[in-house]
Symmetry: C2
Subunit: 202 residues, 2 copies
Amino acid sequence: MGRNRSFDETQVLESAMHAFRRHGYAGISIKQLEEATGLSSGSLYNAYGDKEGLFRAAMAFYVDGYVAGRIEAHAGPVATLEDLEQLFLTLFREPMTDGNGCLVVNSTMEFGTQGSPAEEAMARSFDLVTAGIHGVLRREIEPERSAAEADKLLLLYHGILVFSRAGRFDEGFEDAVRSQFDILRQSRDRFRSRQQTTQKEE
Amino acid sequence: MGRNRSFDETQVLESAMHAFRRHGYAGISIKQLEEATGLSSGSLYNAYGDKEGLFRAAMAFYVDGYVAGRIEAHAGPVATLEDLEQLFLTLFREPMTDGNGCLVVNSTMEFGTQGSPAEEAMARSFDLVTAGIHGVLRREIEPERSAAEADKLLLLYHGILVFSRAGRFDEGFEDAVRSQFDILRQSRDRFRSRQQTTQKEE
DNA sequence: GTAATTTTAGAATGTGTATTTTAAAATGAG
DNA sequence: CTCATTTTAAAATACACATTCTAAAATTAC
């Protein structure tokens, strides 16, 4: 059954992913992808079919490895406001500060709605983040305000990714995040004491 | 002194701007730009030098006409929280809902930090929006919280532009915006009554 | 060890790209 | 009216691009 692949697939996808993150899909050539991955175009085409196939693979790699992992760690089924706050604060630390932004959001902005090679990965990633944030708030604050507050955080999160890519990292943004989570914690405290009061009455 | 230009420059820039908005810079070809603008490549090159020149012109056109106009109208030197809220709510109405997003933010995500042909226009646009939002909040709410709340709104605003381009317009986002402005209005009320109290004491 | 099969690198291919050139048509200035 | 200059459209150019082909090297299964 012929020889085995001699390159490290993970390493190739990692390199390709960073290259796409930096230059976008239309903005990078096969030649640049050869340089980035260390593979010849022959091998790339053999392994991934075409440029779009490599892009899809890099997207899936990114969503599985980076997005899903971060959401599990900071916005999983038992995550608290404090965990979620950490999710936001990691956006201000390595490796998110290299100025190349998030592959999913970059690709979203490049392709828009109309049939993009990134469509499924994009949808999956947005669903993960949305569900994670909404889940935490549903557990932590009063139900009437939870959806609106979750949406605010969702928008805040993606706003940060825009400024990250723009290289415009005001120090204030971190304060803005902390201040918003402080407000949510106050909300949680009120919610909890009200719950206790209700319990006593029963 | 030779003949005059026979095309409507405004109309050409408007078409080019929408084409760039839709396809990005790297994603659109001169041929497509000929179709979009109705001009032959000869005329385009004569008028704008090259593809990058046309892009710069389209960017400047967009920032001058759209961004600056909207900021003046809703976040000028005498704008209130209500005016600013309108700025946000217009993002949910025509013509911002065509799924092509904002040329400035799209281009930011395409090029990132490193020397982009959109650099000056991008910087000007971000400065306009930032200054407008911070200006309103500085006037309307208590100084200690004004910067953080302005940054929150700034991030919220750009988050909306991401979801707009993604074609993922949850109805909840509009509620999220309104709820945030309701909170800011409460903040303004407290700030004003405190100011009155202080005045009486003097 | 042999045969089948895959990977691999690099050359080859054809298409699409941005851009320049060409020459004719248009039109403003004197 | 005439001349100078510009716009314009279309053909021409040169290059970069994604992709395919080729043949050799590698390596697994038997």
